[in-house]
């Protein structure tokens, strides 16, 4: 019996851009399952300031998932990842959050998840399969236009 991979939909309502991604359940079953349960995720996508062509959305409330299918540490365009930052891991409260969990979206090359301590390893759990070009366009727009409304939902 063939089991189809679970898919999710990434939507930017303000730009009317939609993309589709597949969950990497074989490599990151725990993460995929946990992320699936949190959907839909709605929030502001914010462009990363360390990692290159990456934007992310915080998970509210914080979701803690164990490490799985970690980046090595490079990532590729279209990768979706989960990252958890424990309280006090960085000085202060970055983004006003003592601890945080996020879904990151890699939209172009020359990217590597990083933070104040250098490279950070992230759970790679999904891959954009449709309309990466649209996501790339939004990512570039965020550099000059700021945050964007962002929704992740089950397909």
């Amino acid at each position: 019996m063939i089991t189809l991979a679970k898919s999710i939909i990434l939507t930017f309502p303000g730009e009317k851009v939609i993309a589709k991604a597949e969950l990497l359940e074989q490599d990151a079953a725990i993460t995929c399952n946990a992320i699936w349960k949190t959907l839909p995720v709605k929030g502001k996508a914010i462009h990363d300031i360390w990692s290159g062509h990456v934007f992310f959305v915080f998970l509210d409330p914080t979701v803690v998932i164990e490490s799985e299918n970690l980046s090595r540490p490079d990532v590729a365009p279209g990768d979706l990842f989960y990252y958890y930052r424990p309280a006090h891991y960085f000085r202060g409260a970055p983004y006003g959050r003592l601890e945080a969990s996020e879904i990151g979206v890699v939209y172009d090359r020359d990217s590597q998840p990083r933070g104040p301590r250098g490279v950070k390893l992230v759970n790679v759990f999904g891959k954009i399969t449709e309309n990466l070009d649209g996501v790339k366009k939004i990512g570039n727009q965020m550099i000059t236009q700021g945050n964007k409304d962002f929704v992740i939902n089950k397909a």
Binding site: H47, W50, S51, D110, T144, Q145, G146, N147
Partner: protein, 167 residues
């Protein structure tokens, strides 16, 4: 005597002291193009840094003048940065086309210690002659409203910025 310059970011101001004693040629070259204005853009590889790209008649290509540029930068550092077109694989599509490959800019570090020129898009590995980065000024103080405007670059997009001579 160290000269001073004033940054005006969307109506908020901060004053910086130039490092005439360390990088006099760089300071002279920058002094000559002041006042300048443009729109600041947030960095994507370097933590809390905004940039003012120097284009058109203000494009600056200055030779490396000081060698103590490795390592993280500190909040308040303002660096001049030049990147030759060969240093950039592809192009940076979010930038104005004139800056997508060859680039000169002021790099303004406003937050916690940052990656600065050690980030991957800049000079790792360094390529002598193809990049230059000099710490040419440091803010005397960074008022909170100026800091908040810097962050607005990330969350709200480009901000109007100007730099002028003070003394």
């Amino acid at each position: 005597m160290n000269r001073k310059i004033e940054f005006n970011l969307a109506g908020t101001k901060a004053i910086a002291i130039m490092h005439d004693d360390r990088v006099p040629k760089t300071c002279d070259a920058i002094w000559k193009i002041l006042p300048i204005e443009g729109r600041s853009i947030h960095a994507n590889w370097s933590n809390r840094e905004i940039m003012l790209h120097l284009g058109g008649k203000n494009f600056l290509k200055i030779e490396q003048e000081d060698s103590d540029v490795e390592g993280p930068v500190a909040p308040g550092d303002i660096r001049y940065y030049y990147r030759a077109p060969q240093m950039s694989r592809g192009s940076q599509k979010a930038y104005d086309p004139q800056f997508s490959r060859e680039l000169s800019e002021f790099a303004i570090f406003y937050g916690f210690p940052s990656g600065g020129e050690t980030d991957p898009i800049r000079s790792r590995p360094s390529q002598p002659g193809l990049t230059a980065h000099m710490l040419f000024a440091t803010f005397e103080d960074i008022p909170n409203d100026f800091l908040l405007k810097c962050w607005d670059n990330r969350t709200k997009g480009l901000q109007q910025i100007s730099v002028r001579r003070l003394e």
